[in-house]
């Protein structure tokens, strides 16, 4: 029997995203030179939601992109199954911009390192920040998030499952 605990329900996710949008705007002092880049797949959906929230608040549309980091992984040969390749879409110039990377869960930090590697192949941003829905600890690299939806201490064997309506039919974050 899986012991499941709901870390965030639908409302919890919504509130966290609204708060993060405000925080991003506060630090960036507005939307000029701001861009959000989501890490596929769920990070990309979260980035889209953040862009909508920001538009509600500021009335301005922020540039958005999505990264597929599969080709930048450092553990390609260790994965048990073929990573499915999605497409990276960065249709604007990232140079001199403030890029906020968006992902669902921050764990070891390796995914973010891949995203950083890929991002700098596209240009030279002014600064890169990180927004995550859940930070579950156990970093293996010196990486930290600038914006966090919820900090959740976890054991290594546990799993954090994020479900989003766009992909999974409902919104919730579970500890398994």
């Amino acid at each position: 029997m899986d012991k499941k605990a709901i870390l965030l329900d639908s409302d919890g996710i919504q509130r966290a995203l609204v708060r993060i949008s405000h925080e991003i705007l506060e630090r960036a002092k507005g939307t000029k030179e701001l861009a959000l880049v989501g890490i596929r797949t769920r990070g990309a959906f979260l980035a889209e939601r953040l862009v909508r929230e920001i538009e509600k608040i500021e009335g301005a549309k922020v540039a958005i992109g999505a990264l597929d980091i599969t080709l930048y992984r450092d553990d390609l040969t260790m994965i048990g199954h073929q990573p499915v390749l999605h497409k990276t879409e960065l249709n604007f110039d990232i140079t001199d911009k403030t890029i906020v990377l968006v992902d669902d869960v921050l764990f070891t930090g390796r995914t973010i390192r891949c995203a950083l590697d890929e991002l700098v192949d596209f240009g030279r941003p002014k600064r890169i920040q990180l927004a995550v829905l859940v930070d579950r600890g156990h970093r293996e690299l010196p990486i930290r998030a600038d914006y966090v939806g919820k900090n959740v201490p976890t054991a290594l064997e546990e799993r954090v499952e994020v479900h989003l309506t766009e992909m999974d039919g409902k919104d919730e974050v579970m500890l398994v």
Partner: protein
């Protein structure tokens, strides 16, 4: 979820439709990489790939070379004259020597059909067939499928006519296999002297009439007339070929208005097709070249991940 499990890519005949789709879908992602300003991803960093081209080729070899480099792999080019094969070493021994230098993947082109099979059997490195005799040229078939899919959105039910020296063409065979698996209606057209025996049994319609092949065609695939490869005896002259099978603007009018003109290259202007057709709005010949890099990147990537798993299990 489907995954790619083969150590080698020797031909399209033995692949399932699903396996081909994995390659084509993967290629779509790689096409984007070639469109960036930094055309490189680190996915195959540290892997060594050898181009063993024992039959001369420029474009295919360069295509594989670029594909490997864009994946950050190290690539060696071995030319036939420079290799020890000219000193009498067997192909098998040459390849084994490269394997001893820990080459991970070998791309092989050879004039004898079945050579990649011989190597694949004897090497733990992955083998990619870049063209063996008249047998197959799988990456060409794949990039052609990719190009058709890109322009027509689907392949099922399309009428595809392959025209020219079918008997000696590995490109024709690979395309026949690939297109059949995707439900296209293939017509093979050429003089009887250049039509291989029994090919109707493989599901293709055979005709010696260009008109029949062009009528309502969605894709016209023109093969290079290869007088150097033995089709010489089947054709009295290039002039005869042009008269019977050359494609020009007039003949093209009988095809579907959205017909695609395809060619594996290099093009013989004025022979298989006239310049205006080669450069015209129906021609996707250059798209084929662009897609070739993406498809070869996908093939190298998929075979590299199998190789990586194999290497890891022998070391653990």
């Amino acid at each position: 979820m489907n995954k790619w499990t083969r150590k080698d890519l020797l031909g399209l005949e033995e692949l399932t439709r699903e396996e081909i789709e994995i390659i084509l879908d993967t290629a779509a992602s790689f096409k984007e990489v070639s469109a960036r300003s930094v055309k490189k991803v680190p996915a195959l960093r540290g892997m060594t790939i050898a181009n063993l081209f024992l039959e001369p080729s420029t474009r295919t070899r360069i295509s594989f070379e670029l594909a490997a480099k864009r994946l950050s792999a190290d690539i060696l080019n071995i030319a036939p004259s420079a290799s020890s094969i000219s000193k009498g070493e067997t192909v098998k021994d040459t390849a084994r020597n490269f394997e001893a230098m820990k080459v991970d993947l070998m791309v092989v082109r050879h004039q004898s059909s079945g050579t990649p099979h011989l190597l694949a059997k004897n090497l733990s490195a992955g083998v990619i067939n870049a063209g063996d005799g008249a047998h197959e040229h799988p990456t060409q078939g794949l990039l052609d499928l990719f190009t058709i899919r890109e322009h027509k959105k689907k392949i099922d039910g399309l009428k595809v006519s392959i025209i020219g020296d079918i008997a000696f063409s590995r490109v024709a065979r690979s395309n026949l296999w690939g297109l059949s698996k995707f439900g296209a209606k293939v017509t093979l057209c050429g003089p009887p002297t250049l039509m291989p025996r029994g090919v109707e049994q493989l599901g293709a319609k055979v005709t010696h009439s260009l008109e029949e092949a062009i009528q309502d065609a969605d894709v016209l695939y023109l093969l290079r007339v290869q007088l150097e490869r033995g089709s010489g005896k089947g054709l009295p002259s290039l002039r005869e070929y042009v008269r019977l099978y050359g494609i020009d603007g007039e003949r093209l009018k009988k095809a579907n208005p959205d017909v695609l003109i395809m060619h594996p290259g290099p093009v013989n202007r004025g022979v298989e097709l006239t310049s205006d057709v080669a450069d015209g709005k129906h021609s996707v010949i250059l798209d084929q070249v662009t897609n070739g890099i993406a498809v070869r990147m996908a093939v190298l990537y998929l075979l590299a991940s199998v190789r990586g798993r194999n290497v890891k299990t022998t070391h653990s």
